[in-house]
Amino acid sequence: MRIGVVTFPGSLDDGDAARAARIAGAEAVRLWHGDPDLHGVDAVVLPGGFSYGDYLRCGAIARFAPVMESIIKAANGGLPVLGICNGFQVLCEAHLLPGALTRNQHLHFRNRDQWLRVQSVDTAWTNGYTEGQEILIPVKNGEGCYVADERTLDALEAEGRIVARYIKGNPNGSQRDIAAITNEAGNVVGIMPHPEHAVEALTGPSLDGLGFFTSVLRALAGATAGGQQSGGHQ
């Protein structure tokens, strides 16, 4: 299985995301922001960082990168896409996910190990977890406060599309403690904390993040074996 990792000008965590994909057992394929060719990858990770210097709004300019035009089209066709931190911001700007990420309510950059509760295991990226599982992965953001109108928040709750919530303290003021959400089909997931930084004992607080990368391999294997997309949302 080939997992593509996009590098935008200003991406920081593309190397770690590629490494996490390899540790999970995938082949990591580096994708360049200026190249619309997805090189036949089976899934895509949009990594953390400060694409285009976070100018205008986080993710606003990255959304119009040539590679994003291809990713938006492919994601609408079912390609699994995981946006981490800045990648989550790009997915919201690209309207692949609802809502927006705004300045942390307390205005401070937050960098710490963060407990989350996995709320939905029906996505391509979380099928390897158990519902209600508590995981510890690093969070590091200045603009991670998730906002959406009440109707959107209610719909996300009702449809089981809140993938993970912050527990034991909300690091940025996100509405309803939202740390991660998914689209209706369950193939696109955006998460503010960094699962790719929690895949090895040497460098992370746990191995809890690896499940995102092994989950997508399982979803892809299921899709190949069963002839249909697994990980779809009920």
């Binding site: 205008l56 709004r57 606003a60 300019i61 119009f64 919201c92 700007e93 609802p98 809502g99 927006a100 705004t102 300045r103 942390n104 309510q105 307390h106 205005l107 906002v147 959406a148 109108d149 003021g173």
Partner: protein, 80 residues
């Protein structure tokens, strides 16, 4: 040359922590009669020829503002 000005503001229901931080600093200047501060962004677009308001509106809607959290308004300035 024609200049179009785009003002982008957070929607009223979206919390503006930057504006709050500024409002909280005002008493230190001796200002006590300001009840609220909200911060937005002014963007100036220069067209090579005639000002094209439709074009400017498209630019604002697609890129300059995020309609999920922000409103914008646009106008042509005379002093371009």
């Amino acid at each position: 040359m024609a200049r179009v000005v785009v003002d982008v503001m957070l929607k009223p229901e979206i919390l503006d922590p930057q504006g709050q931080a500024v409002a909280n600093a005002l008493p230190r200047l001796g200002v006590t009669d300001v009840s609220s501060v909200r911060i937005g962004r002014r963007i100036e677009i220069e067209f090579a020829g005639e000002a094209d308001l439709d074009r400017a509106r498209e630019i604002a809607d697609k890129l300059l503002a995020n309609p999920v959290i922000e409103d914008f308004d646009i106008r042509v300035t005379e002093d371009a």
